[in-house]
Amino acid sequence: MISGLRIRLLPGATPGAARTPLVLVATSLVGLVAFVVTLGLGEASVAPPDVVRALAGQGDADGAFVVTELRLPRALVACCVGAGLAAAGAVLQGMTRNPLAAPELVGVSAGAHAAAIVVIVLLPDMPISALPACAFAGALTTSALVYGLSWRDGTTGSRLLLVGIAVTTVGYAVVLGVVSTVDELIHASQLVTFMAGSVYGRGWPELAAVAPWLVVLLPLVALSTRDLDALSLGDPVARGLGVRVEAARLRLLVLAAGLAGSAVAVAGPVGFVGLMSPHIARRLVGGAHGPLLVTSVLLGATIMLVADALARLTFAPIDVPVGVVTAIVGAPYLLWLLVRGRTSPE
């Protein structure tokens, strides 16, 4: 049964408060190293020390231009997208008590994606800064729909996933229908890249569009970790503890839709980051949502950063959409989760 799916810890691993600081330091360091190294990789290669110099505003002008103007904004967008999707995944998984609740699987990303494409194609003059709000509206609509349709005294993994697939299919049909009305080929190929999930060509305007959402929503999520902790014990227990369950769940759903929606608005529906990051974080720091969220966000940003570096370097000079890379890693991970769920006695 998918509903009984639980991720076992590695033998001997005892996550908890004691290990959390170490994990946070290590994750941050890995993220920083990945950030510096990937900024230096590409057609014009820059050594890590020169990357640091360029970021500090020193060093030679050519290297500085490549690092700070060409690669830095894209890397920052990738970080924001990864962080937003990971946080959305952690919130969705916590509030539904369901390890398969991830923005890309339960229709949240699909709603954001469809809304974004509709706006891009039908209202081409809309500024990029308005796109996250539109995607948020789309994400909110589909997540409420999926959640409402799959809720029967809780959600089981299979039902949530099935309704999510149905809604995602409808969203994708909307996307294809709208895209097929576009007759300029160049425009269409850009849309196809967006549809696979990509941060190709993203720069400061996209960063300015997505970053404020994170700045506002992440602290709000941080304030809700107690609610997430209580909800993860099940509705009756949470209510007994004093949680206004429906209100808390609605608030969390809005936050998750905002985080995932703003990420999808600038990068398209990048898959599996929102599924994998909270899972890995849970193995590292345990199930308490404070440490879990921080770790998820750090991991999500790092995974996106590395995946995007692979996307742009592997078949260079062809820039593969980063969504292809995350899917190649993430889809087997999802299958593994499902197989594990079926064989697990729980």
Binding site: R6, I7, R8, L9, T14, P15, G16, A17, A18, R97, L223, R226, D229, A230, S232, L233, G234, P236, V237, R239, G240, L241, G242, V243, R244, R282, R283, G286, G287, A288
Partner: protein
């Protein structure tokens, strides 16, 4: 701290499970709800703990309608542990028990020394201090149930409601949980209301027994007074012989035959 039910009508959308029930939970005592399956005992407990909204009638907590109180206010006066709670993966006992402090915390004023003291005393009372760093997943059934009870204790309420706290436990663990409940009542004078399946355990640990049949109270009172052959027959459809419990001197039921048509 009083808890009363007035003309309570309870159900889940269809025909009421309980129709017009009145009850006063004995203050400072252990009250046990007993009855056959589907007699409405869990439904009643859930309504008394404000997990279920009555279709009509009222539950009064200290004389005030429990529906008019905020969820947080209720949680500060009454702790309820539903049946068979499941902890999420990778949660330590300490993290679980700490959640009992939810209703005592505020958005920005988080963990206080008061919270820490309540946590420590809840762990101590349930003998789970040594398990604080362990994962709930890895505990035995009995330890796990004690950890859940510790979470409810951390709410620091005078009223504790437990829905079948011994389900899925082996006999030794059942007894240890019931001993713990008795101790919580004896030491702090905490009012306890719980649902138990086993009539003999109810007879042994209850000060008051409330016997339900088809959503109505058939009898209520001290076990020695109300546990009789006709009552058990009426409530459980079982013919019993009642002897004196050689350990407690209370009533002990020995089942003879069931009166119900052979189970399908």
């Amino acid at each position: 701290m009083t808890l009363d039910a007035h003309d309570l009508v309870l159900g889940y959308g269809g025909a009421p499970v309980i129709d017009g029930l009145n009850l006063q939970v004995a203050h400072g005592a252990i009250t046990v709800l007993v009855g056959a399956n589907a007699s409405g005992k869990s439904t009643l407990l859930r309504a008394l703990g404000r997990l279920l909204r009555p279709q009509a009638g009222d539950v009064l907590l200290d004389g005030r309608s429990i529906a008019s109180l905020s969820t947080r206010e209720v949680a500060r006066r009454l702790a309820i542990l539903p049946q068979g709670p499941v902890a999420p993966e990778a949660l330590t006992v300490r993290q679980l028990v700490a959640q009992g402090r939810y209703a005592h915390q505020r958005l920005l004023r988080r963990w206080s020394s008061e919270d820490e003291a309540a946590l420590a005393s809840a762990l101590e009372a349930t003998a789970t201090s040594d398990l604080a760093g362990r994962l709930v997943d890895e505990l035995s059934g009995g330890q796990r149930q004690r950890a859940w009870i510790a979470m409810a204790l951390a709410q620091q309420t005078d009223l504790l409601l437990l829905d079948e706290p011994t389900t899925y436990l082996d006999l030794a663990h059942q007894l240890s949980v019931l001993e713990l409940v008795a101790e919580l009542n004896a030491r702090d004078g905490r009012t306890i209301l719980m649902v138990l399946h086993d009539l003999n355990q109810a007879a042994r640990y209850a000060d008051q027994i409330v016997a339900l049949r088809r959503g109505a109270i058939v009898a209520a009172g001290p076990p020695a007074q109300i546990i009789t052959q006709p009552l058990v027959r009426e409530v459980f459809d079982v013919d019993v012989r009642i002897i004196e419990d050689p350990i407690t001197g209370g009533p002990l039921c020995i089942p003879a035959t069931t009166l119900r048509a052979a189970a399908v």
